[in-house]
Point group: C2
Chain length 258, copies 2
Amino acid sequence: MSDAKRFLMTVGYDGTAFKGWQVQPGARTVQGEIEAGIARVSGGAAARIHASGRTDTGVHARGQTFHFDAPRPEFDAAQWVKALNGVLPEDVRMFAGRAVPADFHARFDAVRKEYRYFVFCGRVMPPELRFTRLREPAVLDFDAMRAACGVLTGEHDFRAFSAIRVAADENTVRRMHELSIQETEDGFYVRAVSGGFLYRMVRQLTGTLLRVGRGELTVEDVVRVLKDGVRTPDTVSAPPQGLFLWRVAYDPGDSTTN
Amino acid sequence: MSDAKRFLMTVGYDGTAFKGWQVQPGARTVQGEIEAGIARVSGGAAARIHASGRTDTGVHARGQTFHFDAPRPEFDAAQWVKALNGVLPEDVRMFAGRAVPADFHARFDAVRKEYRYFVFCGRVMPPELRFTRLREPAVLDFDAMRAACGVLTGEHDFRAFSAIRVAADENTVRRMHELSIQETEDGFYVRAVSGGFLYRMVRQLTGTLLRVGRGELTVEDVVRVLKDGVRTPDTVSAPPQGLFLWRVAYDPGDSTTN
């Protein structure tokens, strides 16, 4: 590491044309594009980047973060933002950067993440929204959905809301600081804030809230699923395109990353 | 025409991958796709469609309208909506349709159009908005922009705001029912409502309002340009991607087209 400087970057991407975040051979990924961009800026010196967490194919970000040890120590954070935006494709953009200590880690030092899942309510999808919204044709019961958000807020074992089976000894208790329905001009979004999420948990929660809104599940059903702690066909994953990793915070009240 | 039925359809499109509305040889256009879709639905019978007006390359629509004489007289309007959405690509969608008299014309019978021009205010464009927003990095003076909207509202000769030179004897007087700045969470949109617009007029007005917001033009400059009635370098066209044809109305209070 010697004189390498570590930076924490905030990045946005349109996940439509990416096979998710993580580098994979033969696939276009966000991590792959950014690492190639860093190599280009630094004249070929490779650097590995470390995200706050992965995102799946088709999922977007407004405030994903990653750290890296910069191969050009003469560049400050603002120069890295500018240089990377100069070489990266338009579907990935650096919003900000800052220098961090050499032992800082974008994943392990994150204290809070916010996801937003956007839903368009209507019979026909406005074409320009098709890659960034789920369309919901039913008239939804927002009161019931808000009641369900209420019972899911706070500290719970969210095992039933992981999209994959997790080992019995894995800790699946998480504290949901906020789970809310925010109405918009043409629909709503689900706002989920927690110190940590299980795999596909926001998509599972959104799919479940939609079932509540349609009257297919009651709030009591949600309480039962949460208490039973077993994945059931009652909960379904909402598709990826409505989901945005909105913000990652590194200390209480931190507002520098978005 | 014999037993052909005429329908008025409301259509939305993502203009990104279209070379505008109007059919052109060798280019993908919205009109071309819809006419091909009608031919497909009707087993090869061609029909020409007639829009409320053309839109340029990259311009979107939430509520464009067109009429056509349907080659399958057994279909009602709802069946045409459904059948066309079944064969059209996802970047063009029928929102609604209704039967109209045989002498109805989507262009000549329109009494009012609404355009919206969307602007994201910030230093870096969120990637998922890059095809549907203009990005404006400057801090804008919304009060000055609203004052400029005020002097442009009402009946004026908008000759200076046509993007092309128009013949001296052409009537360029239009009544602007509303020209307003609507603030959003991350920027604003310009809302323009009139019985008729000159070529690229909304983009010219938006470009001019942005110059006012940045302090490059005063409201008095706008008054002078409007009165002189001559295109000057003071007015510039905003790029196409922020513009949406939002609604076309056919009689006062009509709300069926969007």
